[in-house]
Assembly symmetry: C3
Homo-oligomer: 140 residues x 3
């Protein structure tokens, strides 16, 4: 069994944004030398997501609006008790649960085994500081 | 290490529906010859889900109503900017995030290692056309 | 390839609560003898979750309030058709979809490869009876 581990670091300028990280994951798969296996990609921070969807700017704007409805940004400790700790990111811990922490992707013939529109995104909900993503590939 | 990859294709008659695909996944596990390992099952399209829950028609009706509240079908480009692309499925991209893209199931003694009520479902949110599901099993 | 499977059982006193199960998962990783691989942790019941987030009591209180807004407890069969079956836990099947069934965590150098604040939680949404969690580690 082979295994390969890589870490990416992102500092997103906005509070909330989505980055297409598919090229970096494809690069890690090539470097792993794995032909058949599984590839895990996860946010290492709990106010961020890794998810798979469409690389379409209108959709990403829809997601931002929808997530803001589901869990509005509100630094006060009234809406989010979490913000009594001095943090202002209670909303981000909720948004991340909707969009998910991780994806697991099949590696087949040495490549990410994707449907026609699948792309991997890093979802940031509490940006403006460096945060990490883990990529781990195991297989043969 | 053994690996086994299968693709399923579904053309769902309704816009939104749930199909129990547990028998097909069990068949793939038997064909894999894997006794101890992991089984990934994921939607290959970004307006569909694979998830694990109960095979109970009332619950599935509840899910449909709930998802419609969370992200109503609306082909206009006012609610979903994504629909400015000419698509009418902005809602489906949201519903899929709530229900998830994939499940990873343990394979133990050559079988899906399930609790008493766990069943695997394909969740379609933009049906009426053929769409694919990937099954990948790795282990020994 | 090595593999290791463990089952945990929890009987949560409240209807809804979150338990930090990171120590139990770390123990299973040590027992597995796996140095590089993947660790799956999933709820075996369909009214419970396993998820990764912050071990902060205020946040957990926020989650409880938010999940109650998203899918209120209501034993009547009017809101949830699922409750026509004689169950009263329709809400729990919805809450579990928001928080997720499982996590997959990288094992690197024999340890859970975690960011600074990642902790694994069992999320119970229909407690007061024994329910199981599965841990499966594969790798080398």
């Amino acid at each position: 069994m082979k295994s390969h581990t890589t870490y990416l670091t992102f500092k997103v300028a906005e509070r909330m944004d989505f980055l297409n990280i598919t090229p970096q994951v494809e690069k890690a798969v090539r470097e792993s030398g794995v032909s058949e296996g599984l590839c895990l990609v996860n946010a290492m921070h709990i106010t961020a997501s890794v998810f798979i969807n469409d690389d379409e700017p209108g959709l990403h704007q829809d997601y931002r609006k929808w997530l803001e409805w589901l869990a509005p940004f509100d630094p006060s400790p009234e809406r989010y008790r979490h913000n009594r700790t001095g943090e202002d990111n209670g909303d981000a811990h909720h948004k991340r649960q909707v969009m998910g922490r991780e994806v697991v992707v099949a590696v087949t013939d040495g490549r990410l085994d994707f449907g026609p529109w699948e792309q991997i995104f890093y979802g940031e909900f509490d940006g403006k500081r460096p945060k990490r993503v883990l990529i781990k590939i195991i297989g043969e």
